[in-house]
Amino acid sequence: MILLKIQKEKIKILFIILLSVFLFSGCWDKSEPEERGFVTAMGIDKKGNSDFSISVEVPELGIFESEGGGESKGKDNEESENSYIESYSGKTIWSTVKSIDGKTDRKLDFGQIKLCILGEKILKDKEMVKQAIDALERNKDIWRKVIICSAKGKAENILKGYVGNRKTAGFFTAAFFDNNEKSSDVTFKKTLQDILSDLSYSGSTILPVMEIEDGEISFNGMAVIKDYSLVGYCENEIIKGYNIVREDIMETDITTKFNGIEVPLKVNKKNTNIEFIEDNSKVKCIISIDIEGDVEEYKNGRVPVSELEKSYKETVSKIIRNSFSYFKNELKTDVMKLSEYCRKKNIKLYKKFGKKDIFNNMELSENVTVKIKGTGTIN
């Protein structure tokens, strides 16, 4: 009797296991890796008056087997051993992507996408930018850490033109920003999450600008978006001012001209504090920055520490002032998010002036201290 009971239990357990295998095999969503085209980068351009031109970069799975530093092949006729680029145009982004799907032998999978590039023409069209950002936000495949960049010209040209040793533009861009996450004079990473946060608050954001030259991608300045539309570009010196104020960018090189020679300072530590007070019916933004760093080069013998500190202080103040002035007077866009800082730190003042007018009524006061902690291995 007991043996029979044990037998029945075993059969029951076996039946449950077999049923589980059937039910939990995920057969509806079964999809083999070789049947999928993993998209690493996507370009969104404007075609005609209101059509989207979408380009997707899909690496060949074989590139994951090749060792780093191997021979990189060029791209001919949109096909290469590394990746292929497919382009199509349509009225909406995802319907266009479905059309691309219809042309390829693999189902496009956006789960591993690293980069999305917005072309220059589309950035000048407010409604198309809104639609593009909304499409990216709503899509469940696209994760929020995808890097968003702008292109000078067409996004498609960047994807097609890249022939570097990182195999695909998506991989290159992801690696570039990983390397420069805490330090950059030139540009900084903007993810979909960052852009959504910026746009939900003020309708403005800033995007790294990508260019392609001789098959290599370069980042040159930033594109400023105000009210979902491109209003201008910032050169590297202007971006430097913004980077100095930002708390998450630690390592910034600051170079000052001292007695006719350029002296670079490697910043090791930076503390930023921003306060707001009312001054003569204007909002005074007091940016206090304490910088510590090492002098990297000084060819004229012993480093004159106190004079150099004074020179660095003036240089940093000037950089910050120039950046603020450019954003306020030229672009009329609060790129540095100072109005948001004011809302967080001095809500009374913020409510008094209002979200729309506070940046226009803002004046800057810098309070910079620079300490030279090291001069390398010699004095």
């Binding site: 591993q112 929020r144 999450q193």
Partner: protein
């Protein structure tokens, strides 16, 4: 330990309470709290935790007065049997409807994050049959499963949230205390309903081996869950910002979408996190099916457990198919919270406790032990 007596320890009760309360509501809790309190929505959760502790204390105090009686029996002693049956029927309906919506929310979330093409009814069905099978096995088995699953659920969650917390911008919580106090209070009351599961304390006492410290430990369990919910809300607001959260349906899941675990080359760790959440949902489904069957059986007093489990599971599954889309699910869930939730988390236990005290009904556990 208590293998042939269907008894659990107080520690197991604590763990079961933690897992029963920590449900799908936490996925959209930050959004709701930001709607009430803006960047100070986390204060609403603190208020909710305080209310939840009071409700837990009331429920435990009531159950403690009748430590060996099931809910139907002692409610019958307090307010007469017909009224007790009506209250129990309401309880059963509340559990069934809440569980149906939880199950549906769970299947929609899984469909959105992992299984895009799988029908939501298939996901609900798979989870329901596993939970229902567990419910057949008794309270002690539930306790043992919970003792294992609590580590499997919470340790990875703490690790993931630790990474998210380290990269969050805590200035998004500023300005502090700049919100309408009335809205904060309403938010606190609303957040109380995400502690649905507290009422299971009312049914647990007959299954406890040692009832002496159960009240205190139940409140501690609620505090533990409350702290986790507060932390999740704070981290979500800090990471996503109060303006972005309002646009999202499930901001906590979007948060998982922003995790960048070091050392990985593949994206999308949200699917990994979902796998731990699935275990949490299993416990909730298991609890809902178990208690609704328990209450029904104690009322009808006939038939085998398996029939109650089968029939109630079928009802739960059918109801979970009714809502058409996510906004309808959230509407129904809100209505259940504001109606049944308010009555059964606070009003019914409070009224029963007051009536029992006025009528001097029920023994304390000391008297029961002396009698034994």
């Amino acid at each position: 330990m208590f293998s042939s007596k269907n008894k659990i320890s107080v520690r197991q009760l604590q763990i079961l309470l933690i897992l029963d309360i920590f449900g799908m509501g936490v996925t959209f809790l930050p959004k709701k709290m930001v709607e009430f309190g803006g960047q100070n929505g986390w204060i609403c959760v603190i208020i909710g935790v305080i209310f939840a502790c009071i409700c837990a204390w009331i429920s435990a105090s009531l159950a403690e007065k009748f430590p060996d009686d099931d809910f139907v029996t002692y409610a019958g002693k307090i307010v007469s049997k017909p009224i007790a049956i009506i209250i129990t029927a309401g309880f059963v309906l509340k559990i069934i409807f809440s569980l149906s919506m939880e199950l549906r929310i769970f299947s929609e979330i899984v469909k959105q994050t992992i299984l895009f093409n799988t029908p939501s009814y298939a996901i609900s069905f798979c989870m329901l049959i596993v939970g229902a099978y567990g419910a057949l096995k008794g309270y002690e088995i539930r306790g043992r499963i919970a003792e294992i699953l609590i580590f499997v659920i919470f340790i990875p969650m703490f690790i993931i949230f630790g990474f998210i917390a380290s990269g969050a911008d805590y200035t998004n919580l500023m300005p502090f205390f700049d919100t309408n106090n009335t809205e904060i209070l309403y938010g606190g009351i609303f957040s109380l309903f995400t502690f649905s599961g507290i009422e299971f304390i009312l049914f647990a006492y007959p299954y406890l081996k040692n009832k002496k410290t159960a009240k205190k430990e139940s409140v501690k369990a609620v505090v533990f869950v409350g702290i986790i919910m507060i932390l999740i809300t704070v981290i979500t607001i800090a990471k996503l910002g109060p303006f972005d959260i309002k646009n999202q349906i499930w901001p906590v899941l979007e948060l998982m979408n922003t995790v960048d675990l070091p050392g990985t080359f593949l994206e999308r760790q949200d699917a990994v996190v979902m796998s731990f959440w699935i275990m949490s949902v299993f416990i909730i489904v298991n609890a809902g099916v178990y208690f609704s069957c328990l209450l029904t059986k104690h009322t009808i007093k006939k038939g085998k457990n398996i029939w109650y489990v089968v029939i109630i599971s079928a009802i739960i599954f059918s109801i979970s198919l009714i809502p058409g889309d996510i906004s309808e699910i959230i509407n129904i869930t809100d209505k259940i919270y504001m109606s049944f939730g308010a009555i059964y988390i606070f009003a019914i236990p409070f009224l029963l406790l007051i009536i029992a005290k006025i009528r001097k009904l029920g023994d304390s556990f000391e008297n029961t032990e002396r009698k034994n």
